[in-house]
Amino acid sequence: MLDQFPAIIVAAPLIASAICAIVRHERTCWLIALLVSFLCFFGSASMLGQIQDYGTISYQMGGWAPPAGIEYRVDLLAIYLLILVSFIATAVLVYGRQSVSAEIKDGIRGWYYTMYLLCLCGLMGIIITGDAFNAFVFMEISSLSMYTLIALGKDRRALAAAYQYLILGTIGATMYVIGIGLLYTITGTLNLVDLGERLPPLLDTSAAIAGMAFIVVGLSLKIALFPLHLWLPNAYAFAPTVTTAFIAATATKVSIYLLIRYLYSVFGFAFSVEQTPIPELVLVLSVLAIFAGSLTAIFQENVKRMLAYSSVAQIGYITLGIAIANATGLTGSLVHIFNHAVMKGALFMLIGGIALQIGTVRISDMAGLGKQMPLTMFGFVLGGFSLLGVPGTVGFVSKWYLAVGALENGWWWLVVLLMLSSLLVLVYMGRVIEVAFFRERPVGAPVLKDPPKAMIITSWVFILACIYLGFDTSFTVGVAEQAVSVLVGER
């Protein structure tokens, strides 16, 4: 059983989604989805120890040896992401039953869980596969199900947002597959490890460079790296809350993982960092993303949209680590992948609770909520602190690593910019907190209370994780440092 986990964590959600599509009974589907997500989480977590002790697991799909067969390759970086994605998937499901009932029309809720499982299958597949084309197929499985998950939102703008995402997402995926095609024609292999071995002597050919350019641009679209982020704010803002909490915490992170894989393992650290302008380009775009994202967030009236723009900025922090391109910066980047997933997951979950109780997510409708929904709003404040990077929260840990990494490069001005950008977070999170705590609830407005227990408890598990992981970094930083030493050591 244990040997088969690499296959099971991808196949189980796929099979379960087919079962859900047949059953279509809301509660049963929810239960199936929850059990399968937990199985994935359990499987991923149980592989962690094995990898730390004995090294990378290579699973041969169907018994065909790589590079001819498809290889599932679980190394430290992959397991780190697998644990993150499966954990978020499980937690969001525990949280989401009431929210799905409230936001999705009756009769299609079974389908909703079907799509959720398909999306999980795709995301797990992208992380675990060691085959470039297989990654494309999983990318499209996750994306197509994600478009559906977004389009099922109540608001009609969800449809238009999903359409926009479909067009841009498909352009990104197609560019990725063009890049793979160019690399395949010069190397004759699709296995990522094999590609990494055969590419170095060919790296000065125009086909390799064009392939790299296509892959980087395609993945940047999926990551929503500024200025390719246009699909993200609307998709996050108008999707059902459960969708937003799930994809905000996982989808872009998985694409970043794939980008790191290509830059450091396939093309090699030495080539990507020292011989291409990619670090400089990513540096400029990341800084622009941080400031443009945060500044736009300040002017949003819709809280979900505000948090979506904040995600654009936070993605900037993650890619900043790729641009800093030393071990400390990259560790900061990986740690922030995890930390951002936890804090954004928490914030979107809390907003989902508010949406369930008051029916809107506009800041002006949230006046006086601090008194009536104390647990929710207090959690929101703590989540805001994490986003800000107050010492003792997760946000501080990752920004610390990024700042130290920048100083190792002698980029003191970047540290100044990092601090300035935190002030912007204070402004946009402060707006919500000011309205909720320091304004009176309008006279005649219905009296509200905190959302149902399951929602509050799961949100608070995430909020407490924000604080716990800010003090005990042995998992996040520990695994990230080990993974980075492998990535950078491969030069």
Partner: protein, 125 residues
Amino acid sequence: MEGFNEFAFVLGGVNHWITIFLIMAGFYIIVSRSNMIKKLVGLSIFQTSVYLLYVSPGKIIGGTAPIIVEGNPEQLYSNPLPHVLILTAIVVGVATLALGLALVVRINEAYGSIEEDEIYGEDWD
């Protein structure tokens, strides 16, 4: 000799020229049209270019299907892998187009229009 090389470059890579033309044509349609169905047509052309990119290097003149025939171990055959990959990519393309069209149908029901200018202008704050 010089002229011949250029001639070979232009004509020998004719499949690549067509690929590049399809990529650019598809991309241009996506960017320039505001009608959602036309955009999807552009997207399809964009994706189709990839099929040609993959399949054309897999073709060997005189090559047959990769089946071992007894008594002829050195038979010339085409690599089947690019074709198989593209079979998968075609399925992905069909699924994307189907989902895109389904979304456009729903958008038309909700907005009464499939022109992007009108839809995003309407209630997009």
